[in-house]
């Protein structure tokens, strides 16, 4: 099963775990968002950033230190 197609299970179960209710229209919106965001989220998780030295508490008004 494609990851994005699991919205029917993932979203209601996820919301239920927080005790959050949603109507059918909201679920449809979340399903569309899930289809759009989930595949790139999975791709993002696969992105190798192990070699990236952390920049703790970055000052976003300036270039990165070092």
């Amino acid at each position: 099963m494609e990851a994005a197609n699991r919205a029917d299970e993932f979203i209601p179960a996820g919301l239920a775990s927080f005790g959050v209710e949603a109507d059918d229209v909201e679920l449809a919106v979340m399903g569309a968002a899930h289809a759009m965001f989930w595949p790139p989220i999975l791709a993002l998780l696969e992105l190798d950033t192990n070699g990236v030295a952390p920049e703790p508490d970055p000052d976003l008004s300036r270039p990165p230190a070092g």
Binding site: I11, L15, A33, I41, L45, L47, V52, P54, L60
Partner: protein
Amino acid sequence: MSAEAALDLSLRGQAAAIAAGDVDAAQLLEAALGRIERRNPAIDAVVETFPERSREMLANAPAGPLHGVPVVIKDEWPLPWRAQRFGAAEMPVPSEPGESGPYLALRDAGAVIAGVGNMHELGSGSTGAISFYGPARNPWDTERCPGGSSSGPAAAVSARLVAGAVGADGIGSIRYPAAYCGLTGLKPTFGRAAMAGHHMAEVSTTIVSGPLCADAADCRLLASALYREELAAGEAQGLRIGIVRDTVTDDVAPDVRDACEAAITALREETGGELVEVEVADLEAAALATVLIANTEGLAGLHPSRLNGLSPELSPIARGLLKYRLLLPAAASVKAHSVRTLMRRRLAAALDRVDVLAWPTVPAVAPPLQAPLVELPSGTLSADQANVRGAALANLTGAPAISVPVGLSDGLPIALQLQSAWGQDELLLDAAEALERANGRRWVDSLPPLAQPEPETTEA
């Protein structure tokens, strides 16, 4: 000069005319309010005026650089007499009237707030197609999106209700509407422009306030007020312009690509500069990282019981997306911060070789309000999905960016985005002015149908 005619001057022109005594500021304010009354019903750019408050502001206005000049401020900033509504029936966190940073900056510069600008509901869209007030409409074609989330400020300036407006940019929200409405819009370096009083001020690492105006000189004037420092003008000579070849920057509509390439060539020639190909890899991941960061920074205020009590007047899209935020995985949020670090270093490395990066602000012209979709070489995408790819890098890294009009396609504006290193906001304004010179101010002086000067009326 009549006050009505003065409304068609630039922001700096209005300020100069008032300072020289050529225009009466009180009459200019009344003319602006009158024009809002006449033109606004077609575009819903301004959601509220408060003539007595505006007159009071003018009566107490100091002799600042914007003395007596009417402006619009986005519905994202509290005013002493009005809490922001964020384009929504209900704010995600409680809001109250107050003296926000942009309000204080405008007041201290002598400006007069003539009205509050519409915006995309909860700031969560690049089109402006959804708002509690009904969507703002694009003055170039009122069936088209004005861009979001600073939809009203952009539509108000584009229709020449006022000559300048203050927006906010968390993920492109000044640059998208500037692009769609044919304006110049500056996203300042993070932390440089007034931000106090924003409901996310304490937690957001992406949002900034910034100006939307007809051209770069007006943006410089309004930004100087918001920064509380004068942004000096330079020449941008010998500008090294970075071109990034990436699926994100190349997946644009042909007319947009052609106009932006012509503008980049013209900018190079005007500045005696050079074009340099540079690499900034993983722009798509950077866009997603920005979305994840921006959508999770406010989660502390979105507890489940609050989500169960959301106003039914919020759009189903807003309600669904607010709830969906709870389901975003923490691992992705952590990874997003790693990507931020990575992209900050990559951007810094690229900007060691060039002065600015240039690519289209948005990949296609303003889509229809009824179906905000864009046709790109890769296929049909929602405008939100397509737009974020080119805009997010500046918000993720904190660096400044500017959107400049560079053409029209079927009567709709096309825009080029320039990005520079942190703190070099002035260089972006210099480059934008050089681009205006290069094309003879053709695009910054273009007016949508709604903004054509009205015939003077004479009293019987």
